[in-house]
Amino acid sequence: MADRPAQLIACHDCDLLQREIFLNPGCTATCRRCGAVLYRNATDSINRTLAYTVAASILFVIANLFPILSIEMGGDRAGITLYGAVLSLWDQGFQAVSVVVLLTTIIMPAIQLSSMAFLLVPLEFDQVPFRYTLYVRTLQYVQPWSMVEVFLLGVLVSLVKLTHNFKVIPGVALWSFAMLTLLIAAVASSFSARDVWARLDRITGRGVSS
């Protein structure tokens, strides 16, 4: 990406004022005082992040439509989807917990993936995304609350607990969640807000003075 050296940058963790330096692709600049990551030169960030986002969105839909686990008892097979689990918890009187599960495993990841798409699709075609600040800000707030990887570990722990007493059959959604976890990690690691702002500055022709 277009690098803008000699620009001032303040570490978000310790507020140390530093000058940006040019980075080779794949390298990371860290704060010289506190060691926080300042920025990365993520290779081809917008393109790759968009690709991962599209793939993750498809898997997200599959993961939510199909059963995660099924148990078999006396010839009967009973499976649950994620949303089914949320509903059942609500019916058992644990509304607060069920809302938390709904938010962290369905709504937040959905917001995360859709904001990413709203932001990156126009940028890919050199257009200025509608209300882009909103999406960047949303991504920042939503990221810690999207807990697909924790949920996946929860499914695996449940699987082991259940195999003591039941015959458990992993469902399609379990594999989808596993892939989704990897893809969301890929989205997070290839996304670079700095590249997004650099692209926006280029498109709008707005030179950033420091």
Binding site: D15, A96, W145
Partner: protein
């Protein structure tokens, strides 16, 4: 370290959304980032007091989350009510040592680590301590990273309570501790979000910033 200059010390403010550094002419007036329009602050407003409030609430709920029942499991031959800790012990005894360790790390070690670390960070910041700032910064980054994994037990209870409900031979019910525990996880996540790590470094430059 002696020549370290903080942005705020120069009247410069870094936007927390787009990282653009801009000059705040009159800090008393509400200023907005010229690039993305976000409200600019030298430091997160009310960081320490808000963090304390959330942390104290988390401490209070930590007690019922460990004393109350997390999960009830019953079958034709046995019936048990488990707290978080007794559930882990039961897992260990029934031969799932690895799972017991994972749940122990997520449900016991991480919440305690977060509560204690945030308390240490807040006290040190309030006393304007210059004690190992790099280590404290690293501690903060670590709790930000691992905090979310505490949610594990909430998901396990959700899945088990739903799935076993469907079968007829056995029953699994969520217990009231799941509400308290979920609240502890969320409150500590909000608390660590509220904490502004830049406050760790301000005493080193003999600076003090608000807002």
């Amino acid at each position: 370290m002696s020549q370290s200059v903080s942005a705020a010390g120069q009247g410069l403010c870094s936007c927390h959304v787009c990282n653009l550094v801009s000059r705040l002419e009159r800090p008393s007036v509400a200023a907005h980032c010229p690039r993305c329009g976000t409200r600019l602050h030298f430091r997160q407003p009310g960081s320490v007091s808000r963090c304390w409030a959330l942390l104290i609430a988390a401490y209070i709920l930590y007690i019922p989350s460990n004393l109350l029942v997390m999960m009830e499991t019953g079958s034709l031959i046995s019936y048990r009510k488990d707290t978080i800790m007794s559930g882990i012990v039961h897992l260990w005894k029934t031969g799932s040592e690895i799972i017991a360790l994972i749940v122990f790390a997520a449900s016991v070690v991480i919440p305690l680590l977060k509560l204690i670390s945030l308390t240490v960070l807040l006290v040190s910041v309030q006393r304007r301590s210059g004690w190992h700032p790099r280590q404290r910064a690293r501690l903060y980054r670590m709790i930000e990273l691992v905090g979310r994994w505490s949610m594990l037990d909430v998901y396990v209870v959700t899945l088990l309570a739903t799935l076993v409900q469907l079968g007829s031979m056995a029953i699994v019910k969520a217990g009231p501790a799941s509400i308290a525990f979920g609240a502890v996880v969320i409150l500590t996540m909000f608390a660590s979000k509220q904490f502004d790590p830049r406050l760790i470094w301000d005493p080193l430059q003999n600076e003090e910033f608000h807002d």
